[in-house]
């Protein structure tokens, strides 16, 4: 039956689908990612002031990203699981290196200068942490008991705190979330979830008094009333809301957005790029992007549920979920429902390490999607 379907739908039985299968490529995910990248480049061209320089560099990152994805897709899921601890350890080392040798901008130390390019190790941790926690939990009780939850939290907190030190609160929260999501998917009991919720609430005053820096507090205050300081810290959010709102239903047209083209919108090619999209393509553009994102996430969750091993399931599921968290945090902050933290819009915002990290993640997902079945043998 399966074979019959196969023959009926494909003109050439030895065609694209077979090649993609043999290359460990999930064709649907591949096409969706390709569409996202194309959309992203079009918006970036406009956001970068109709200058091809950003587009060219982003394109190079995307090509390298696709290549990296295909390479990672060839790695067996077993090896990923086996090497997870080493990869996590290397990730921690690069984070330490950033604190010691890092270069930075605007008072933060976030990059490692490799000579030919700059690396942002915190971005890499967004993959390393779920990989590590998935590997750790897949060999242990499901749902995880207290001891396993404790050690998982420790393994999540070490990189999180190192990133807070840089300081890069946005990425730290995302890294923490990526690890926490693995715990959640692994069946973390409700009492732990409720407990962690209580801890989070209790942590708010502690964070406010001891952890958050003045500019971070300012961002939270700004969220509550941006009109207090229209030319200072409120400027970004007022301008981005103006850009989004003035786009309306149909948008002002590609490269016609006055907010972005006349530089009223800050960070228009990086964290605030969704405002450019919303201004120029309107609500239609926003809905189209959300649809694409949901399709990607949906495909990833299907891969996760179909995964053959518990490790594959957890890793694929957490990568899919954290992808949504990125989107929610970014779109929420730019539209003024979340405080402004450094969080790029996945696949659309300009930024090399973020793109490469995402592709590594999708490479792992593809590897999982082609994981050999353990229960039954094919053919």
């Amino acid at each position: 039956m399966q074979i019959n379907d196969f023959v009926r739908t494909m003109q050439n039985p030895g065609g694209a689908r077979r090649i993609s299968r043999s290359m460990h490529v999930d064709l649907i995910l591949f096409v969706l990612l390709f569409a996202l990248c194309a959309f992203g480049l079009a918006v970036l061209y406009s956001a970068g002031g109709k200058d091809l320089a950003y587009v060219k560099r982003q394109l190079v990152f995307m090509v390298v990203g696709f290549a990296l994805m295909l390479i990672v897709a060839q790695v067996s899921v077993r090896s990923l699981e086996r090497w997870a601890f080493v990869i996590y350890g290397l990730g921690l080392l690069t984070l330490l290196a950033v604190l010691i040798f890092g270069v930075g901008a605007k008072g933060a130390q976030r990059w490692l200068d490799l000579g030919f390019t700059r690396l942002q190790p915190a971005e890499l941790m967004k993959v390393c942490v779920p990989l590590m926690i998935s590997a750790y939990l897949s060999k242990r009780f499901i749902p995880p008991n207290f001891k396993h939850v404790f050690w998982s939290v420790v393994m999540i907190l070490i990189p999180t705190l190192l990133i807070v030190r840089q300081p890069d609160l946005g990425t730290a929260i995302l890294v923490f979330m990526s690890g926490f999501l693995v715990l959640f998917l692994a069946g973390l009991r409700k009492r732990y979830i409720a407990g962690s919720g209580l801890v989070a609430i209790a942590a708010i005053p502690v964070m406010w008094l001891f952890v958050l820096r003045d500019y971070q507090k300012q961002r939270i205050l700004t969220l509550l009333s941006p009109e207090d300081d229209t030319l200072g810290s409120g400027w970004n959010i007022i301008q981005s809301k103006t850009a989004i709102g003035s786009g309306g239903f149909e948008g002002k047209g590609w490269t016609e957005g006055t907010q972005s083209q006349l530089s009223f919108l800050p960070e228009s090619h990086t964290d605030f790029i969704i405002a450019v999209l919303a201004e120029e393509f309107g609500l239609i553009g926003v809905l189209a992007l959300c649809t694409l994102y949901l399709l990607v996430i949906g495909r990833c969750l299907i891969i996760a549920t179909n995964a053959q091993s518990q490790f594959g399931r957890l890793l694929a599921g957490s990568l899919a979920s954290i992808f949504f968290v990125y989107i929610f945090v970014n779109m929420g902050m730019v539209s003024g429902i979340l405080p402004v933290v450094g969080a790029p819009l996945p696949m659309i915002s300009y930024g090399g390490t973020a793109i490469l990290t995402l592709f590594i993640g999708f490479g792992m997902l593809m590897a999982i999607s082609r994981e050999p079945k353990q229960m039954r043998t094919q053919f």
């Binding site: 998917l185 030319l231 709102g245 907010q259 959300c290 949901l294 996430i297 969750l301 549920t305 957890l314």
Partner: protein, 631 residues
Amino acid sequence: MIEEDAFSDPARERQIFVGRVILTSLLILALTAVLIARYFDLQINQHQDFVTQSDNNRVHLRPNPPARGVIYDRNGEILADNQSVSNLTIIRERSGDLEKLIENISALVPLSDSDVTRFYKRLKRRRPFEQTPIKFNLSEDEQAILAVNEHRLDGVKVSARLSRFYPKRDLFSHVVGYVGRINEQEISVIDPIQYSGTDSIGKVGLEKFYESSLLGNVGSEHVETNARGRVMRVLDKLDPTSGSDLMLHIDSNLQQIAFDAFAGERGALVAMDVKTGGVLAMVSAPSYDSNLFVSGISQKNYSQLLNSSDKPLFNRAIQGQYPPGSTVKPLFGLIALDNKTVSASTRIDDPGFFVMEGIDRPWRDHNSERGGHGKGVDLAKAIIESCDVFFYEMGIKTGINILSSNSSEFGLGAKTGIDLPGEAKGIMPSRIWKKENRNASWFNGDTINMSIGQGFMLSTPLQLAVMTSRIASKGKMIEPRLVKSVGGVDLLTAESSQTTDIDPKHWDYIHNSMKSVVHSARGTATSINRGLTYTMAGKTGTAQVVSISADKDYDKSKLNKRQWDHALFIAFAPFDDPQIAVGLIVENGEHGSSAAAPIARAVIDGYLQTNSDTAIASSNVLEGLNVYANQ
């Protein structure tokens, strides 16, 4: 124990996971709905508000200031012009920390403390997003330094503006005046729309009097600016209308001659075209450079000008009020002839003093130490030699009422109506005047003092010139005018046909007497007739600065120069067909004959030698225009 149940059961592992994935998916859908609701709210519900906000961001209505009218002399020489200058300006809304910015700027170009304090003052009454100037007239080097660094200085702009420039510097300051920054008092009076792109306004002189003509009409343009305030494109625009140009009757060469003739003395001169009333030269010395005031004068320069004992800011020509002294004698003689209180045959004996019945104290003649002007002095001789005693007697005979009321027709004691602000009206005393101002009755002694232009009587140099013009034209009601045309349209001078009905033979008598003042050997101004190629009529005058009791001698050596008498002179020429009339004063110049008359000679020489033909030609043109206008 629960953990035990869960241990290594692949089916249960998968079941738990699928349950969590379903939970996650629901959460994702819910949060996506939140996001879409938020974007829907911004993009659909609040769309119009944000469109407005976005347009307010980028579109600005910018006033397009008109170019101020240019002021020319009669030959088209520029007296007030507009020059493009570069000013350093700050847009407060874009500048961020102002103190730090000013610190950064002063590292590049020098800023004085007064630059900064005046900037803060201007900042208080600026319009939103206005470029507020902090430093004017940047040099080319400063512009270059700022251009290189402009990107680091948020909100800072070097902007080119038209600024008033007076190429003749101090030569026309009292005539043309100057423009300056609009002050708080003016801002409450002016039309804010008309002045929206203009930061200066006429303060004194013609610049003030003709402000509404010179200003022009403001234009506007909608411009699209980027976040740094840079104009990206002009969306639509309404061009401004330049202010009207003024052309004056003044000849700047003649003005220069008159100005130079004062050679460091204090005083004033007005020369008028007898045919039209056009002012040919108007000097008040010393003067000052009008350009100092254009972009705000420094406190130091201002107090220097203000506190100088020479009073350079004071326009003596229209505001200086001096006793006219003997220069009123021809007029009073004419009035007496007309009222038949004297005649051509009236003769008196002048012993050097005059005694009023009932008053012990005699009134001296100015040459009393030489025994007076002798026996048989008639009106002509009294004018030619300036005999005071004759006028004392004549004044008493004629009486204050006649002298006072008739003098007014010649422009004394009232504003002449010249097109300049701030004119003083002088004093032509009368019984009523004394009652009102001194609360005292009029005495014959007052009449005696007044009959030689002393006592209460005061007049401005302009009034003397108007009086002289009206005498020269044999009673035409000539009115003084500085501006000949506005925006290329000639101002039609009021018909000067209205004349006093004085017997022509009296006119000839007075004219001939005044001619002899210059041309006869005994005339008080005979010293200036050497080499004269035309016939001139004139009258000298001396005005006391300190009152010296009438029976005492004036001893110059006992007084310092500031207490010396003022020297006056009035004149017109050519005698047969008068074209130019001059009235002038040299403060503390002592004698009209030696200090004042040569200046009049220089000016009339200059005018008749170089401008005679054109003067006649232009008066013909004007007459032609009048005919045209009357049709």
